[in-house]
Amino acid sequence: MGKTALIFGISGQDGSYLSRLLLTKGYRVAGSSRDAQMSRFSNLIHLGIRDQVEVQSASLNDFRSVLQVLKKVRPDEVYNLAGQSSVGLSFDQPVESFESISIGTLNLLEAIRFLEAPIKIYNAGSSECFGNTDGHPADELTPFRPRSPYAVAKAAAFWQMANYREAYGLFACSGLLFNHESPLRPQRFVTRKIVTAACRIAAGMNEKLELGNISVERDWGWAPEYVEAMWLMLQQDNPDDYVIATGETNRLEDFVDGVFTSLGLNWREHVRTTRDLLRPTDILTVRANPGKAARELGWKARNKMRDVARMMVKEEKATFESR
């Protein structure tokens, strides 16, 4: 009998790639969305797997709803990828960010305890928890210094996971994933915004791309690879937390350059920076040390920033030209 996985947040980028991965591994895949009847699941459709996954309505803020979907699906593994996912938006919706991220994780942990079933759980942590590390590569022991309501809520969720693992022996893992991109990223994420605008400009549109601080440094990886790490964590003998990243840091300017260069353009002619897009507090540099994931999970990022930029452009161009 194959295993069953339940993915909260299945309609997002990671949920969709994870569904595809688990389907190829022979899992029965179920997923939840706040309103499954209203969701278009365009990412699942995009990947051509919409009819292979069961979808359920569930809200992580509502304990009854979480319990009900767990009872119905009876999963072996739960992946919690749901929750408000934008750092920028969290400054405008701090309470909602806490409720969807932190109370949501708590409800899930409590529901699993309540059912007394050996359900393994993965929770999406975030590299945002680290904040500015002064150039030191962050690993699993690096103290958190969160810089946004989103990051503070993710830090609380991370510790809830650790506490339920230690207090009640749950098989609970957090992945501290650094930025991971793909063509399924929504437009409000800067990478996708850059790729889309650059493709329009390459197609002859007369427009300028407006960006905030382009000297920020990030570690960008390829989302379809990162979901493998999530799955690997739940296949180990013991539950633990892992940093997932490429280990390579680049400036946003370099990503912009990667995108425009692959379209034969010079970004300097098309980009305008504006103070309006700056965040109240931002992280300047992130650096990651994914050594533990390589040692213990045998996981390593194959695609680095330039590959990510190139692949995103390729797919964007294809959709653009097919319109």
Partner: protein, 361 residues
């Protein structure tokens, strides 16, 4: 007249802080939760009749889980300083009520910070957040100072971690004058009866007078840095008087186990306690009578224990010129004297035929 608003005014720290600020000449406003029973015994001595003019001590009904209520109170009061001392503050209880604890302790702090912003009071109102040594949990270094990384070990500590960082974030993002006081354990005769120190002094006093036979405790090996709450509230105020907002550790720098606390408290009452056995079998005997007066009950163990905490408050001592004035032994003597007096009152009532509730948990 400067105005202060205290959440959690009916608690131990709220009562001491209110008294302190009134002496400093503040107009003190407090928020208390509506309850069907009186819950103001710690501040009754500060109460001023509503019919008096020029009152300087005022209470408002409110709740940290109600945003609009908080916004309205802050709008009315227009405080210069807000002290957020309200919380579900019991570590053990937080394992049973994790969601409520998150709502009151984590979101409660956020709701206050948001209220300050929504009312445009960022430049006027200073904010103190009651943070806790429980943040250090499974300690990463000893002693703990402001740079020591956190490792929370309970739903209470995780909720307080959120409140800590959201206070830092609002300071950095919006320039709000917000400070965290990372207070190590602080006790007093006003400490709630279900907290271990008060449970010990009260329990031993009642054993002394024959109300109770045995004091049941959880982890006797737990080591803490115990100060006096009256010393610590001064620090809260001092932090908000500085030029720049910052976070400070407040501690005595001395560490004692729960067992040692029991022994010292016992001595105050003339008990010389001999410890025998190990783990759940450990017992404390009064040497004179050879009677077992202290025993371990595993029900008080926590799913994840915090073994040892010891604070390094050098920063507060250097920058704020603060020193704790009341020693560990003096504090216990004060607590024991208070609880013995209460037990004597109960004994008197009982002797005169009045019903005396036992109030053991």
């Amino acid at each position: 007249m400067r105005k202060a608003l205290i959440t959690g005014i009916t608690g131990q720290d709220g009562a001491y802080l209110a008294e302190f600020l009134l002496k400093k000449g503040y107009e003190v406003h407090g928020i208390k939760r509506r309850a069907s029973l009186f819950n103001t015994d710690r501040i009754d001595h500060l109460y001023q009749d509503p019919h008096e003019s020029e009152r300087t001590f005022l209470l408002h009904y409110g709740d940290l889980t109600d945003s609009t209520n908080l916004i309205r109170i802050i709008q009315q009061v227009q405080p210069d300083e807000i002290y957020n001392l309200a919380a579900q503050s019991h570590v053990k209880v937080s394992f049973e009520t994790p969601e409520y604890t998150a709502n009151a302790d984590a979101l409660g702090a956020l709701r206050l910070l948001e209220a300050i912003r929504i009312l445009g009071l960022e430049k006027k109102t200073r904010f103190y957040q009651a943070s806790t040594s429980e943040l250090y949990g499974l300690v990463r270094e000893t002693p703990q100072n402001e740079q020591t990384p956190f490792y929370p070990r309970s739903p209470y500590a995780v909720a307080k971690l959120y409140a800590y960082w959201i206070t830092v974030n609002y300071r950095e993002a919006y320039g709000l004058f917000g400070c965290n006081g990372i207070l190590f354990n602080h006790e007093s005769p006003l400490r709630g009866e279900t907290f271990v120190t008060r449970k010990i002094t009260r329990g031993l006093a009642r054993i002394k007078l024959g109300f109770q036979n045995v004091l049941f405790l959880g982890n006797l090996d737990g080591k803490r840095d115990w100060g006096h709450a009256r010393d610590y509230v001064e620090l809260m105020w001092l932090m908000l008087q500085q030029k720049k907002p910052k976070d400070y550790v407040i501690a005595t720098g001395r560490q004692f186990s729960v067992r040692e606390f029991v022994s010292v408290a016992g001595q105050e009452l003339g008990f010389d306690i001999r410890w025998e056995g190990e783990g759940v079998e450990e017992k404390g005997y009064d040497k004179k009578t050879d009677r077992c007066i202290v025993a371990v009950d595993p029900r008080y163990f926590r799913p994840t224990e915090v073994d040892a905490l010891l604070g390094d408050s050098s920063l507060a001592r250097e920058e704020l010129g603060w020193e704790p004035k009341i020693s560990f032994e003096e504090m216990i003597a004060e607590m024991v004297a208070h609880d013995l007096r209460e037990a004597e009152r109960d004994l008197l009532c009982r002797r005169e035929g009045f019903f005396v509730p036992n109030g053991i948990e």
